[in-house]
Amino acid sequence: MDTNRRHTDELLDVARVLLLVQGAVLFATTIEALIWSLIFPGAAGTPFLMSAVAAVLVLVAGARLRADRSWMRRILYVVETVILVNLVIDLALAVVITGHVPPIVALLTRFVLPLAVIGLLRASTRAAVAPVAVSPLEATS
């Protein structure tokens, strides 16, 4: 059981670091959204609010992520899915309009990062519930 637990913790360690960086990127985007909302008041601050909520959720959920806190995972699944859906729309627009994919950094922060976080959360859940292989020697002792 300790092996499974260790493996789960190791995967969650990676997820926590990725979430910290993703939260930092979202925080920077929130500050930018605030500045843009002063230049383009038409957007009425909604993008700023949504970015701020996403940044707080990712940073807080990332810091409090534990193997036994399934609701943190659910929050993260929702936020990561929203980011991925947003990217899919942008990707479709970019390919249709320009024939190019979005810039590399956009793919890293909005495709690789969320996908890696989802993958790690799922893998850690599987590792936590996986049965432990017991050797015949241990079974008879």
Partner: protein, 391 residues
Amino acid sequence: MNSLLAHVDHVIGAAGGSPLYEIGAEHLAGVIALLVLPIGALFLRRRGTPDLAPLQWLLAGLLAASSAIHAGLAIGSDHGAGLSVLFIVDAVLLGLVTRRVLNGSPAGRLGVAVLVGSIGAYWVSALRGEAPDQVGLATKLIEILALAIVVRPAASQSRLRSVAGSIAIVTFALGTATSSWIGAFRASAAEPGAITGHHVHAGSVAPPGTIFPEVPLRDATPAERAAANNMVEAARIALARYADPAVAAADGYHVNGLAGIDFHASNPAYEHDERVLDPAHPETLVYAVAPDGRPVLMGAMFLMPKIGSPGPTIGGPLTVWHAHQHVCFSLTPPALAGLLSPLGACPIGTIDVPLTPEMIHIWIVPGAPEPFGDLDEAWKRDYLQAIASRS
């Protein structure tokens, strides 16, 4: 489609787009150098894979990637031997830290110093006006992630240290975004005439979010100058009736919320009427509000009907059209919400419009220093002040 792509290549490539969203030619060697990594991984496998936790593997991979990119940049750099030496020093130090991690040791203070130094050097370079590009930004993102792993406190360490580490990473991300914006705008301002004239010459760069076609350095011919003057005069006569925003509203222009000194009132019906540069039917009117509250019609913006269609340059180098790239557009409510961040994201709930149709401004106010392109802000304020004081 082919003609569209040819045009897109023309405006997005070296000729007109901001380097912020592109890969600089001199940085391509950095990307190619990443190919060394799989060879290194194979070599490591033959030697015997070290027993590391997933997080340490990730750290080693990130450090190795940054090291390889810096080595490539040293080869491709055309900013003199000094910068190449700095890139090599960075590559070697990052390589040393990678080796340390692969040997099972912590990255330690050397790791923190090398990563902070590398990110700090990028900030300095950007703040001095070096145009940031996608290779530089991706490398800094890799280094910020590596730093997040290095400064991550052990389970036994205090919560305060964990919070301090998180604040440091957020600060590094914010600092990288800020310095990149400053670098991108400073690089575009290196040739002041480029922005107001709405065009770039070989060697200069466009500001983020704007695409200017590259224009040869030549004066307009007498015929082009006459055509441009005729166009301004025709617009002045045709648009006089829209001095009253109520008349513009009756014709379908969105004048609600008229405010500021650069209010664009669009007419969606005219955006799809297939008319090109028709002075009587501009796609957008541009108003400014004078200090006494009076709305003043400053000019109009003409939009091409399709993305990728080049606008007619009737006045040669005097009438250069421009397009916008990576504009963040909010859907709740529909409005402009900024530009794509150097860190790759538009605000949540907005979409990244990668390219707009080409457009051109014509200013009909008497004495405008530039009848086409951007109107100087200071001149605009002085003009509006003069109008208010006359009344």
